[in-house]
């Protein structure tokens, strides 16, 4: 470091540093620049006083204005819920069928239902509602208890196998193997028959024997052709969709021990509007069925 000196060419003082023969001139800053700098310092001090700034051991200084990002969020959430209140009230008023037929309500319900689904349903049914073994895929057109929006809504409200809810969905399949109704060989024959009517394998001798056992034990719920019954929640066996798997092992387990899936009664956990939105959303996933037209003739209804 050489001593500060006056530069010959410009007459300006150097800062005194020298790098490979290059020196820096010590030109003073413009006054307005310094003023701006001081103003920034003053502003920073004021900011530290007014807003949360200094981290302490277990909290930070709060600032005299009382501002917080949490407070901002709270405010925005309140504004948002105020903005939604009108639509939520409308959804609350409307019946599930009215929502399904009003495009505006339906669109709002689908959006709300999608959000509620992400919070409450994806744990079992998956993020895309595709389900997995034991948890139904809600995108497809196979419904144990009915696929119109009212049936979906009821399944949501009352759940499946929920004690204390009289309207809950309950299906009772005997554990044919475990309870000794069928022998292990008979179970295998029924499995062969079921796989044959579903088109999973060619009917053989075992399936023929199974057909008789099926007719004696299973048709009451699953129907003569295995078409299932929504009244008792008996799945169709002659289609391409298996809730617990369609291979021999899974079917053997199902016939031997029966399956008892459960779902919470969301009517007791969520508010009615959310449940309606969820039903509308699930109905919109591609497998939703049209609501059956109300029976026009009261006499026919009485009969």
């Amino acid at each position: 470091m050489s001593k500060p000196r006056l530069d010959d060419a410009t007459g300006v003082e150097t800062v005194g540093h020298e790098w490979d023969g290059i020196e820096e001139l010590n030109n003073p800053l413009p006054r307005w620049w310094l003023w701006s700098f001081y103003a920034c310092i003053v502003f920073a001090i004021g900011y530290c006083v007014a807003y949360p700034a200094w981290p302490l051991i277990d909290h930070a200084t709060a600032g005299t204005l009382g501002w917080s990002s949490r407070g901002d969020l709270d405010h925005e959430m309140k504004e948002e819920s105020a903005r939604r209140a009108g639509m939520l009230a409308e959804l609350n008023q409307a019946s599930i069928e009215q929502i399904a037929t009003d495009p505006r309500l339906r669109r709002a319900a689908i959006d709300g239902g999608r959000a509620a689904f992400k919070v409450n349903c994806i744990q079992c049914h998956g993020n895309g509602a595709a389900g997995s073994a034991g948890y139904p895929n809600l995108n497809d057109d196979d419904w144990l208890w009915g696929g119109d929006v009212a049936a979906i809504h009821q399944t949501l409200v009352d759940g499946v196998r929920q004690p204390g809810d009289d309207a809950t969905r309950t299906s009772q399949m005997p554990a044919f193997g475990r309870d000794g109704i069928l022998t292990a060989a008979q179970v295998q024959d029924v499995v062969s028959h079921v796989r044959a009517i579903a088109g999973e394998e060619k009917p053989g001798a075992s399936a023929q024997r199974g057909a008789a056992i099926f007719a004696a034990n299973c048709v009451v719920c699953h129907g003569a052709n295995g078409e299932g019954s929504r009244a008792v929640g008996a799945p169709a066996l002659n289609d391409a969709i298996w809730l617990y798997g369609g291979d021999r092992k899974a079917l053997t387990h199902t016939v031997t021990n029966a399956r008892y899936g459960v779902m919470p009664a969301w009517g007791a956990r969520l508010d009615p509007v959310t449940v309606k939105m969820l039903a509308t959303y699930v109905h919109s996933l591609g497998g939703g069925e049209e609501t059956p037209a109300p029976v026009p003739d009261p006499a026919a209804a009485a009969k």
Binding site: K3, P4, L6, T10, G11, V12, E13, L25, N26, N27, P28, L29, P30, R31, W32, W33, L34, P103, G126, N127, G128, A129, A130, N137, N139, D140, D141, D142, G199, A236, D239, A240, I241, S284, G286, G287, E290
Partner: protein, 489 residues
């Protein structure tokens, strides 16, 4: 400004002040060809700036009638017959790149023409300097008033002048908001207090920045704040036309009287200091090219006038390349101005600049006013239905960029036995082609399910959007159909 002041540091040779006091600049009025050109540029710039938002352009009932409008709320940019959507922002990016390369081109050809003539800081500073002359008089009167003690007369003059500054600042700064909303409506709302808060905030900020930067900081902005001079001076080379003092001709300088008495012949510069007096940034061009020079060429006007007065040839200070200055010094002929401007470097810039321009024009001619984008559901990738059929789901975005409602056909291409339906249709109504209405100037989101029969293979498919009206227009978006066997290729 950088000159060392011996009075300050006479006693403390190692100490200089923390700040340098600004030396106010009082440029003298001058007339000449460059001054008139500067007037013209200022007038054109201001007229374009003020007038543009008020031009009307009939676009029909579904679009605004303002010729140039940056519609932030609806994310549209209107420029006469051109409407830019957010996904077409590359047009704006292309224009920005053209502006950058245009700056390279102009700077390498004729120096800092942007700084000297077109920069808003220059235009408004010039405007305010005319106000100074109008209120306080020319350079000498301004200097006298500056030195005069504060009294009622000075205060009155200052308040009047600053008031005019503020008026100009408000009129020009406030005009900016009209580019972002319907100008007549906004004008009315503004004065009745119904405009958006952002309009008032923008007006306030631009008024104050114009007032402070143009009225008070002036050349300080160019020298200390603005990054452009640094960039522009770096883009100059010895072949760029810049304002040059021909020292070989001017030095040694001396008055006409001194020249008569001098033992050795003096140069042409009579040291009248007119070039310094007229300079809006207060520099002495005779010290050579420097960052404070914005190449406004007012010193050329001043010097030419002085040379005419003493009967010497004009052009002692002139637009001249450093190469030519050397050449003239050696007594050689300078390069013709056309060859100076059209040299390989500028031609390359010009080539790149026009290539981008033509590409943009071509794309503007090619673009369709319909657009389709398809996003395939990945969760679940496919759904097996009870009869073994396979279903995939897609989200389609149909853009109708015309200012009228249109009906589109969306056709499924390339899935054997396949059909599509929307979430508002029943699966039984599935068909190869959907008909969809899209409102004017809107993007419609459509949830579409594609169905393929049992045993279908994965396939590459496409959705084809076709406008049904006579203007037509179509767009195709490719995607895949997934089954249990995997994706299409």
């Amino acid at each position: 400004m950088n000159a060392h002041d011996p009075k300050v540091s006479a006693d403390h040779s190692n100490e200089i002040g923390m700040y340098a006091k600004r030396k106010s600049v009082f440029p003298k009025a001058i007339d000449g060809s460059f001054r008139r050109f500067k007037w013209l540029v200022m007038a054109v710039c201001l007229v374009i700036y003020w007038g543009t938002p008020w031009l009307r352009w009939d676009r029909g009932p579904y679009a605004p009638d303002q010729a140039v409008l940056i519609d932030m709320g609806n994310r549209r940019f209107f420029m006469f017959d051109i409407e830019i959507w957010p996904h077409e922002f590359y047009f704006v990016a292309g224009l920005l790149i053209m502006a950058g390369i245009g700056l390279f081109l102009v700077t390498s050809a004729v120096g800092r023409a942007w700084c000297g003539y077109a920069c808003p800081q220059t235009v408004w500073t010039d405007l305010f300097q005319h106000v100074d002359r109008f209120i306080d008089g020319d350079r000498n009167a301004q200097l006298r008033l500056q030195k005069a003690p504060w009294g009622p007369a000075k205060i009155a003059r200052r308040l009047l002048k600053w008031g005019i500054y503020l008026g100009i600042s408000f009129a020009t700064g406030g005009a900016w908001i009209f580019y972002f909303a319907d100008a007549p409506t906004l004008q009315h709302d503004f004065w009745t207090g119904n405009a958006a808060p952002v309009a008032y905030a923008t007006t306030f900020v631009l008024t104050m920045t114009t007032f402070i930067f143009g009225g008070f900081m002036r050349e300080q902005v160019c020298i200390y704040m603005c990054p452009w001079p640094r960039i522009q001076t770096a883009m100059l080379d010895e072949k760029s036309l810049i304002v040059t003092y021909k020292d070989w001709r001017g030095e040694p300088r001396g008055s006409v009287k001194a020249a008569v008495k001098a033992a050795t012949p003096l140069g042409d510069c009579i040291d009248c200091l007119q070039c310094v007096a007229v300079c809006p940034t207060g520099i002495d061009i005779r010290e050579g090219p420097q960052i404070g020079c914005i190449t406004c060429a007012l010193c050329i006007d001043a010097c030419d006038k002085a040379m005419a007065g003493v009967g010497r040839p004009r052009g002692l200070i002139d637009y001249c390349t450093l190469d030519d200055a050397e050449r003239e010094k050696r007594g050689e002929v300078s390069v013709p101005i056309l060859r100076t401007i059209l040299r390989p470097r500028t031609l390359v810039y010009l080539g790149v600049w026009s290539a981008i321009g033509f590409a943009l024009l071509f794309m503007l001619g090619q673009r369709t006013r319909v657009d389709l984008s398809v996003a395939k559901d990945r969760n679940p990738e496919y759904v097996t239905l009870s009869d073994g059929a396979v279903r995939n789901a897609y989200t389609l975005k149909l853009r109708n960029m015309e200012e009228r409602p249109r009906t589109f056909r969306v056709a499924l291409e390339g899935l054997v036995g396949g059909a599509v339906f929307t979430d508002e249709m029943d699966a039984a109504e599935a068909a190869r082609v959907l008909t969809v209405d899209v409102p004017a100037d809107t993007t419609r989101r459509l949830r579409v399910y594609a169905l393929a029969p049992r045993g279908s293979q994965p396939a590459d498919i496409a959705f084809v959007l076709t406008a049904t009206d006579k203007e037509g227009g179509s767009d195709t978006s490719k995607t895949t159909f997934t089954t249990a066997q995997g994706n299409g290729q």
